[in-house]
């Protein structure tokens, strides 16, 4: 068990919550944007598996981590009822996050729905490296839009929504124009699988290298169950690799979609 204290929790949009907890490990030893925490919801028999949620913001000095998540199923709904002062069993940060390249000039951060949260910590770290940042974020509708102010601190934010209720009507790929990409040296994307697939294809056309953060159902989250794999191509060989341990972030060109 590794119990940490809940410091605050509040709803930030329709069914979306922001929770801040004490960090489960010493972050000064290093952590990466794009890594995730693995939450044990309760010790009830209702939850055999932990829930992976990405790091959204880190306060190194206070040793606090904020995670933003959608209360979609039983587990996350239960999590959203945790109160400040209560304890929660969390392990992490786990996995490999987004690699950053000091030579980059301009990075495009692409987030879809609950894929947006990890872009905040990533944006902060890239900004610290003096990089130009453009965020392209898509939501189902205005009611689900999150973290726009946070991203605006790092640079332009292009917002899209499927129903046109906020920003332009459309998908993130609609905003990944040649004009935008011409200037970009790297992209980082997190979101639902169909979005990642479309982003990969689009950015291949525009010839921008980048990274995808994959979402697979996890058993252990620490590399022991081999439940969370995704086909990854390296040296012309496709192997199922553990997204929890070798990922969730992979080089876009390596990720095989069916």
């Amino acid at each position: 068990m590794s119990l940490v204290k809940v410091l605050s929790q509040r709803p930030i949009a329709d069914q979306l919550f922001s929770i801040t907890i004490e960090s489960p490990s010493d972050l000064r030893k290093g952590y990466e944007p794009g890594q995730f925490l693995h939450f044990r919801i309760t010790d009830s028999f209702d939850f055999t598996l932990r829930r992976p949620l990405s790091i959204c913001k880190v306060d190194l000095k206070k040793r606090q981590i904020t995670v933003v998540y959608r209360a979609s199923g039983e587990g996350t709904r239960r999590l959203s009822r945790l109160l400040p002062g209560e304890q929660v069993d969390v392990i992490g940060p786990l996995g490999h996050g987004f690699p950053m390249h000091d030579e980059d000039q301009h990075a495009i951060l692409i987030g879809g729905g609950i894929g947006v949260p990890p872009m905040v910590e990533l944006g902060r770290q890239l900004r610290n490296r003096q990089m130009k940042i453009t965020s392209v974020v898509g939501f189902a509708s205005k009611r689900q839009a999150i973290l726009l102010d946070e991203l605006a601190e790092f640079g332009d934010v292009i917002v899209l929504s499927q129903d046109g209720s906020i920003g332009e009507e459309g998908l993130v790929t609609d905003a990944l124009t040649e004009a935008l990409c011409a200037d970009a040296s790297r992209f980082y994307a997190c979101g639902p699988t169909p979005m990642l697939k479309a982003v990969k294809e689009t950015m291949q056309i525009h010839n921008v290298p980048g990274y995808l953060s994959l979402e697979e159902r996890m058993g252990c989250g620490i590399g022991i169950c081999v439940g969370c794999v995704h086909p990854i191509e390296r040296d012309q060989k496709v192997t199922n690799r553990k997204t929890c341990k070798e990922g969730p972030v992979f080089l876009a060109q390596e990720v095989v979609f069916s």
Partner: protein, 310 residues
């Protein structure tokens, strides 16, 4: 009953003395590398590694995992790097744990595959026992067949015993009409011990997609939900065979482990609980010790088969 200050957790198992009766279950510990970050593996009674096949396998497509009431389904499909890679890269890293028996779980499709894997493992200095997985529900051809037919299971065990340098534990499938017949068949064929249970076959439907949630359709059910089935099988089998039985299925606490010992298990394996909590194994060991102290049990070995009908 007086509270004890010291409890002897050791249990004898196949000519070894285990430090305690708790080992991870195959497939829920990988090859130990990851768990080392969480605790000292020397705390364990033994180490059991992931199913190893002759050739590298990529396993099933995803989703491979689903959560169920008090349990989970998995359809990994035996993904593993193959016996040569296991010998070259995985097992040598377990050399640090000399005091622990290392048990390799062996799987395959045909008897010949199994035999080849065992022959390859014979050369290892790290391995001390084999666990024959004739019960994995997640590979389509073969595999499960051996686990549900006493004649085929017997044939398999004989073939392995003929080549193995190590004691052979046979892991049985619970998806059978008569678990005692299966156990007697493999004992008769030369099994040195029996471990049970592997997963029950189950399925979950994704209501939104209107199709089975797991890409593989069916998967193996494990976790606390299956514990009553496992305890029943251990209780029935352990009274009928003369070889030791390893109890597996839904163990999450020290009391669960003790329940299996009382049912007749000589040791236990912990599977799914490692996912719920990576510290599950050492916690269970501590809880067993605490229970024994509170209940005046000086030697945990005394609990084995305590619940048998006399």
């Amino acid at each position: 009953m007086s509270r004890l200050t010291h409890v002897d957790l050791r249990v004898p198992f196949l000519h070894k003395m285990l430090k305690n009766p708790v080992m991870p279950a195959s497939g829920c510990f990988s090859f130990g590398e990851e768990m080392r970050q969480f605790y000292d593996l020397n705390l364990l009674g033994a180490i059991v590694v992931k199913a190893t096949t002759l050739d590298e396998r990529q396993g099933n497509p995803t989703p491979r995992i689903a959560e169920t009431p008090a349990g989970m389904l998995n359809a990994i499909g035996l993904q593993n790097p193959g016996v040569q890679a296991v010998l070259a890269h995985e097992l040598p890293r377990l050399k640090d744990f000399r005091t622990l028996p290392v048990i390799v779980n062996v799987a395959g499709t045909a008897i010949e595959d199994y035999v080849e894997v065992v022959k390859a493992l014979n050369s290892s200095e790290v391995v001390s026992m084999l666990e024959l997985n004739i019960s994995c529900p997640n590979v389509k051809c073969g595999g499960i067949q051996f686990g549900t037919d006493p004649m085929m299971a017997s044939e398999m065990v004989k073939a392995i015993k003929a080549v193995s340098h190590f004691p052979v534990i046979v892991k049985l499938s619970p998806n059978v009409t008569d678990i005692v017949s299966m156990a007697l068949a493999v004992e008769e064929a030369g099994a040195d011990a029996i471990s049970l249970i592997n997963t029950l076959i189950g399925m979950q439907i994704d209501l939104e997609k209107r199709r089975p949630l797991l890409a593989n359709g069916i998967g193996g059910l494990s976790g606390p939900a299956v514990k009553p089935v496992a305890v029943r099988m251990v209780y029935e089998v352990s009274q009928k065979v003369h070889v030791p039985v390893i109890g597996i299925g839904g163990i999450r606490t020290g009391e669960d482990a003790i329940e299996f010992l009382m049912a007749g298990a000589s040791a236990v394996q912990v599977g799914t609980a490692n996912f719920t909590d990576p510290y599950a194994c050492p916690t269970i060991i501590e809880q067993m010790e605490a229970w024994c102290k509170e209940h005046g049990v000086a030697k945990v070995e005394q609990l084995i088969g305590a619940a048998w009908r006399k």
